[in-house]
């Protein structure tokens, strides 16, 4: 029943044998050892599993791994380039935009998608863009501040 798929993960070609029903989130975590992608719900509300597919933010629990065949997946592990933190990673650190850190990878990847398409978002636009990513620790205030900082740094 298992099928082999090939995809690009964090810039490197990968081949992996998956069950057709396997979700991308599970394959990333369990088979590709990319455990920075977290799973916080089973109904696609929390956004902890957000990754980029061809540069757009996608909740990796909402798609089958097979649907990623031939596409480029970026996870939190692949965001820093050449040993330098992505501006959003830096901004989350600078602005205390995380506490327990569980939602953080998904938050950062969602925010990166926002800034890629709306480089200077208003606070309301940031809060709207993050609606699909839940955080229980920060009350969102410093997350919003981090996204604003990263937007300013671009």
């Amino acid at each position: 029943m298992k099928r082999t798929i090939t995809l690009t993960v964090n810039g490197a070609p990968r081949s992996v044998e998956v069950e057709p029903r396997a979700l991308l989130a599970h394959v990333l975590r369990d088979q590709l050892d990319l455990t920075g992608t977290h799973i916080g719900c089973d109904t696609s509300q929390c956004g902890a599993c957000t990754v980029h597919i061809d540069g757009r933010a996608v909740k990796s629990c909402t798609m089958l791994a097979m649907q990623a065949e031939g596409h480029a997946v970026t996870t939190i592990e692949g965001l820093a380039a050449n040993g330098r933190l992505h501006p959003l990673q830096q901004a989350f650190w600078d602005k205390h935009g995380l506490q327990c850190g569980f939602c953080t990878p998904g938050m950062i990847l969602t925010a990166a998608d926002l800034l890629a398409h709306n480089p200077k978002p208003s606070e309301a636009e940031i809060r709207h863009a993050l609606e699909g990513n839940l955080c229980r620790c920060t009350g969102y205030q410093n997350i919003v501040a981090a996204v604003q900082l990263a937007a300013g740094a671009r």
Binding site: T35, I39, C41, Q45, A48, L85, P105, N133, L134
Partner: protein
């Protein structure tokens, strides 16, 4: 060198968290790992006739299937560890898997262990369960009533305990009072919703007889103890590792059956076994919070002096008594009925009641939010009845700042406070008088503005172990640290607490770095491994900085004393002639003659030239047991505008002035306040774990349970005052729960204030548009 205490330096735990390199429990992988899945009851209350696992046992990939009958004589029942005295507490057996009966939707029935997550899940569906449904009862008040369905034969009438608190002469106070107000208050049941669901990974080594257990835990040492009770392994054979933990909010304090079952499977099968709940499982099988029905009366004079408070509370416990459950609505709730006020007469009766629901235990604030809410709500009702400004009523009854330590009518003694100072600051920030003027003007235009003020104090920094023992807590409440200096001059602090988002890897490093005058980068804090850290009691009850942080401070001081002895020896000077200057012990008057911390670290560890009678090495252990709890306080104020056509609440401003004593890292303190306030606003506005009458959880997924989103929540404006606590060497108080404690009544009082012209006096939270709208209709005399 500037002191790090008081500096909002960036967190040292963040780099691994923002790059995806942190290891949470579900990230742990071991050779030969098996995966467990649990079959959970779909009935709230039912007789369990037969559990047929034959098909599941034969399914592809399945290694083992266990039912209650399979594990009953091998595992002990799940303990309740807070044996509150003088309340006739009844704790019926809580089997790790149901035997003859299930008592809530989510009660465990069987465990499948398989070679993949998917195989374990698939096999769950192959188990046939024959139930005989029994009547459910989900409301604690109804469960306590005559004729209610009974959950446990050992507990007639479902009453687990009747706990009373009394001080003064409350009957007389009410008999003589000029003014009385009363209100029935429902504290909505909540789902803690730590973003990381619970997980356990157990690996038993038959050769050494050692069980290693990774657990999503706020308190690995307590989990070690609870696992020991359930698995029958002695504590010294169990190593609990709580790696990165993705939030807790109380839900990762208790011992759950799952941890014991997974450990048992590893012992039986000789392979490591991992179990991770998904969110809908978390909502059924991880503890819930709050769930009180309260009847509250307050009395006082016509000019605003509160003379008495009386309560009758039905506290839902769920199907079984969870680890700390009996202590939450009693010790952590009833004893706080005086709040920050001088209420001379207080009487409370708390009934702990079993209901056919998920067990209820500590959830952020744990008992104090309920106490603060009922008190602050009653004060607003009282103020309205006597026609006095609610701020004036509060001010009139606040404990004066020169009266500390102050013993309230419930018998506990507050450490320190300046409640008026925080109130004044908050009023100034919100510009109270100006808002009242705007409100009066708006009312003439049929616009409904409201303002809510909460002056609170709370008990935390748990706490003196002697008191823990006296109130039946099944352990100590001291905490501990080892401060160890490596030959390189790097210092590691091994702590008994277990931060899971609160940032103590940073704040405790600040304490140590200050003590030694070394860069904070040279200090590391290690937590969450019972083999590496001394006995501690975990992170909850806003205790870690006050208690464990104090142990860190004391251990570092001991290390420094020893370093001084070594320095004196090496410098051929007397200790009395040495002084500590910029990270060095120097001889007074000859500043070039000194030994740096790095020199001493090396010399102590190689021990080539130690003073006579001084042992090699440079480390110290400290156990700190505080002399009292700490009582942080503050004033929160919220302004709102109501849309009376739709019932929607719009928050205009939210101001939080908190006093947690001196702040080690103000950035982290502010983050705790932000998160706490928003979590409380979730409780006030939108969160509710709803059951239907059959005991089915209607809010069983994140689609239905309204965790606050970024777009729904306001900005919080923070400020602080600083009143040190005399009960620990840092002078600090806790701040992890204050936001959740203060924000709930603040919001509800603001909404009720806005609707005062329409005659609305009280609305039970959460204040959803539907509830607000219905309350408006009812006040207008219409049918909601």
């Amino acid at each position: 060198m500037a002191t790090l205490f008081g500096s909002g330096i960036k967190r040292r735990e963040d780099p691994r968290l923002i790059t995806g390199k942190a290891t949470y429990t579900d990230d742990v992988k071991l050779p030969g790992l098996l995966y467990a899945a649990m079959l959970r009851s779909t009935y709230a209350h039912a007789k369990l006739n037969q559990v047929d696992v034959a098909k599941a046992r034969k399914a592809a990939g399945v290694v083992a299937v266990y039912t209650g009958a399979d594990v009953n004589d091998k595992l002990n029942t799940v303990p309740c560890a807070w044996n509150v005295p003088n309340c006739d507490l009844k704790v019926p057996p809580h089997p790790v898997l149901a035997l003859d009966k299930v008592r809530y939707v989510g009660d465990g029935i069987a465990m499948v262990v398989a070679d993949s997550r998917a195989a374990a899940r698939d096999a769950i569906d192959l188990i046939d369960v024959d139930y005989d449904a029994l009547d459910a009862v989900v409301d604690p008040e109804k469960a306590a009533a005559k004729g209610a369905p009974e959950l446990h034969k050992e507990v007639p009438g479902n009453i687990a305990f009747t706990w009373k608190v009394a001080g003064g002469d409350t009957a007389k106070a009410f008999a003589e009072a000029a003014v009385r107000v009363e209100q029935r208050i429902v504290q909505n049941r909540l789902l803690p919703t730590a973003m990381e669901p619970r997980a356990t990974c157990a690996s038993y080594n038959a050769g050494t007889g050692q069980l290693t257990c990774w657990v999503t835990s706020q308190n690995p040492h307590i989990h070690r103890f609870l696992l020991s009770v359930m698995t029958k392994l002695p504590e010294h054979r169990i190593r609990v590792i709580a790696p990165e933990v993705g939030g807790g909010f109380g839900s990762k304090i208790p011992g759950y059956p799952d941890e014991a079952l997974v450990s048992f499977a590893s012992m039986e099968l000789g392979r490591p076994v991992k179990w991770t709940e998904d969110r809908s499982e978390n909502y059924k099988a991880t503890i819930h919070g709050r769930d009180h029905v309260e009847y509250v009366e307050l009395c006082g004079t016509k000019d605003g002096t509160i003379t008495g408070l009386r309560t009758r509370v039905y506290a839902g416990l769920g199907g079984y008594a969870s680890t700390a459950a009996p202590g939450i609505p009693t010790i952590l709730h009833g004893l706080m009925y005086s709040g920050p006020y001088t209420i001379p007469n207080i009487e409370g009766t708390i009934y702990g009641v079993y209901t056919t629901t998920t067990p209820v235990d500590a959830y952020r604030g744990a008992g104090r939010p309920e106490a603060t809410f009922l008190l602050e709500r009653m004060i607003d009702l009282y103020a309205r009845k006597i026609g006095m400004d609610p701020v004036d009523v509060r001010r009139k009854n606040l404990i004066p700042k020169d009266k500390f330590p102050y013993t309230v009518a419930t018998g506990i003694t507050y450490d320190s406070g300046n409640y008026q100072g925080a109130l004044d600051k908050a009023l100034q920030l919100i510009d109270y008088k100006k808002f009242r003027a705007e409100q009066a003007k708006a009312r003439k235009e049929q616009r409904y503005l409201g303002i809510g003020v909460t002056t609170y104090c709370e008990i935390c920094g748990l706490g003196p172990s002697q008191v823990a023992g006296a109130v039946g807590f099944g352990g100590g409440l001291y905490d501990s640290a080892i401060v160890r200096v490596y030959p390189t001059g790097v210092v590691r602090a091994y702590i008994g607490g277990k931060p899971h988002g609160q940032g103590e890897e940073t704040t405790f490093a600040q304490i140590v770095a200050d003590e030694f005058g070394i860069p904070v980068e040279n200090v590391e804090v290690v937590a969450g491994d019972t083999e590496a850290t001394p006995q501690g009691w975990g992170t909850y009850g806003s205790r870690t900085t006050a208690v464990c942080g104090s142990a860190v401070k004391i251990a570092a001081q001991r290390v420094k004393e020893k370093a001084k002895k070594i320095a004196a020896h090496l410098l051929e000077a007397s200790e009395a002639d040495l002084e500590w200057k910029e990270g060095k012990f120097v001889v007074k008057g000859s500043p070039d003659k000194g030994k740096s911390f790095g020199d001493l670290a090396l010399m102590a560890n190689v021990a080539w030239n130690m003073p006579p009678g001084v042992e090699p090495g440079l480390e110290a252990t400290a156990f700190f047991d505080p002399s009292n709890f700490v009582y942080p306080f503050g004033t929160h104020i919220c302004t709102v505008e109501l849309d009376v056509e739709t019932g929607e609440v719009k928050i205009l401003r939210y101001v939080a002035v908190d006093d947690c004593g001196p702040q080690i890292n103000p950035m982290i303190v502010e983050g705790q306040v932000h998160g706490g306030v928003i979590q409380g606003l979730g409780e006030a506005l939108q969160e509710m774990a709803a059951y239907d009458e059959d005991g089915q959880l209607l809010t069983g997924t994140m689609m239905d349970y309204a965790v606050p989103k970024a777009s729904q929540m306001p900005k919080v404006e923070t400020a602080h005052t600083v009143t040190p606590s005399p009960v620990n060497p840092l002078g600090v108080k806790g701040v992890g729960e204050t936001g959740t404690i203060a924000s709930v009544p603040t919001l509800v009082n603001a909404v009720c204030d806005a609707l005062a012209p329409l005659g609305v006096t009280h609305i039970d939270k959460p204040l959803t548009p539907a509830r607000v709208w219905a309350a408006i209709q009812q006040a207008k005399g219409g049918t909601p």
